[in-house]
C-alpha cells in the first residue's frame, strides 16, 4: 500500500503545476515553481533519495527562483492571456500516452526484485558495504585493505559513486555549470565593464553591437 503522505504530496504537486500553467501573474508563478521544487524534495526524501532532495531544495527552491525573479524584474510581470490551442494538447497527449505505455512492462514501484537493483547497484552496495564495515573493525590497521578489491569505503554510497566510480561524470557536470556561466557571461557581461573603462569606448561599443 502506498503511504498516504505520498498521495498528498502528489496532489499538491499536481495542483501546483496546474496553477503555474494557468497563472498570469509571473511573480506568483515563479514563487510556485520554488514551492514545486520544495514539494518534490519532500517526495525525494520519501523515496530515500536524501542527496537528491537536498540538492533539489537548494537549487530549485533557492537559486533558480532567485534567477527567475531577477529576470522577471527586467521583463514583464504578467503574461498575456491567450486562446487555448489544440496542437499542444495533441503533442502532450501522444507523448504521455507513449510514456504510460512504456511503464506497463516496468517493475512495480518499490519492487525489490526489479532488474536495475540486481546488476550494477547490488555490486556497488556489496563492495562498499564490505569495504566500509571491514574498515570500521580494523580502523587501527589500515593495511588490512590489501585484499585486492578496489573500493572507496565511505558510508555514503551516493558520494562514493558520484565522486569516484562515476567521477568523470561529475567532472563533466562541473564543466556543464562552467559552460552555462561562460554562456551567461557572453550574453550579459561586458557592457557594464566597458562603460567603466573609458567614456569614448562606450560610443564605439554602442555603434558596433
Amino acid at each position: 500500500m502506498p503511504l498516504p503522505i505520498e498521495i498528498v504530496l502528489f496532489i499538491f504537486l499536481l495542483t501546483t503545476a496546474v496553477v503555474i500553467a494557468r497563472l498570469e501573474d509571473l511573480f506568483a508563478a515563479a514563487m510556485l515553481t520554488g514551492i514545486f521544487s520544495l514539494l518534490s524534495a519532500g517526495l525525494f526524501t520519501i523515496m530515500d533519495a536524501v542527496d537528491v532532495a537536498f540538492t533539489e531544495a537548494a537549487v530549485g527552491a533557492g537559486v533558480a527562483t532567485v534567477f527567475i525573479l531577477c529576470t522577471l524584474s527586467l521583463t514583464a510581470k504578467r503574461e498575456y492571456q491567450q486562446p487555448t490551442r489544440i496542437l499542444p494538447f495533441i503533442v502532450v497527449g501522444i507523448t504521455g500516452a507513449a510514456l504510460i505505455y512504456g511503464t506497463l512492462d516496468m517493475p512495480a514501484y518499490g519492487d525489490p526484485d526489479a532488474v536495475p537493483h540486481g546488476h550494477l547497484s547490488a555490486k556497488f552496495i556489496e563492495i562498499e558495504e564490505k569495504a566500509f564495515l571491514s574498515q570500521d573493525k580494523h580502523a587501527a590497521e589500515p593495511a588490512q585493505h590489501g585484499s585486492g578489491e578496489k573500493a572507496v569505503g565511505l558510508p555514503n554510497i551516493v558520494t562514493s559513486i558520484l565522486a569516484s566510480y562515476r567521477g568523470y561524470d561529475t567532472f563533466g557536470e562541473t564543466a556543464v555549470i562552467f559552460t552555462a556561466t561562460i554562456g551567461v557571461m557572453l550574453l550579459l557581461r561586458t557592457r557594464r565593464r566597458e562603460k567603466k573603462v573609458s567614456p569614448p569606448n562606450r560610443d564605439q561599443m554602442e555603434t558596433t553591437s
Partner: protein, 120 residues
Amino acid sequence: MQWLGLWHYWAVIILMMIGLYIVIARDNLVKKVMGLSIFQVSVIMFYVSTGKVEGGTAPIIPEGGHDLVYSNPLPHVLMLTAIVVGISTTALALALIVRIQEAYGTVEDDELNAIDGAAL
C-alpha cells in the same frame, strides 16, 4: 491488478506532461522556462522513483550496520547530475530572455513573431 504498483510513475508522467504543455503552449518565454524546469524535475522524479526499494533505507551505511536493505543509489547519482544540468540550462535561458527583452522590448512569442515579420 499488477498495474496498481505503477501509479507512482503515472502521477510523475502527468506532472511531466504539464511541464511539456507549458513549454509548448505558453507564449511567454519566462513561462516556457518554468515549464521546462517542471518537466526536468518530473523526469528526475521518474528516475528516483525507479530506485526505490520497498523496505529499504537511504543508501548511507550506518556504523556496524549489517544486512540492511538500501534503495538503489545509482539513479540518485545520475539525478544529481541532471539537477545541475537543469539549473545550468535555466540560467542560460534566462540570460537569453533578458537579451531578447532588451532587443525587442517584449518576451511574448506571438509579439516577437509579429516584430520579426512572421519569419519562420
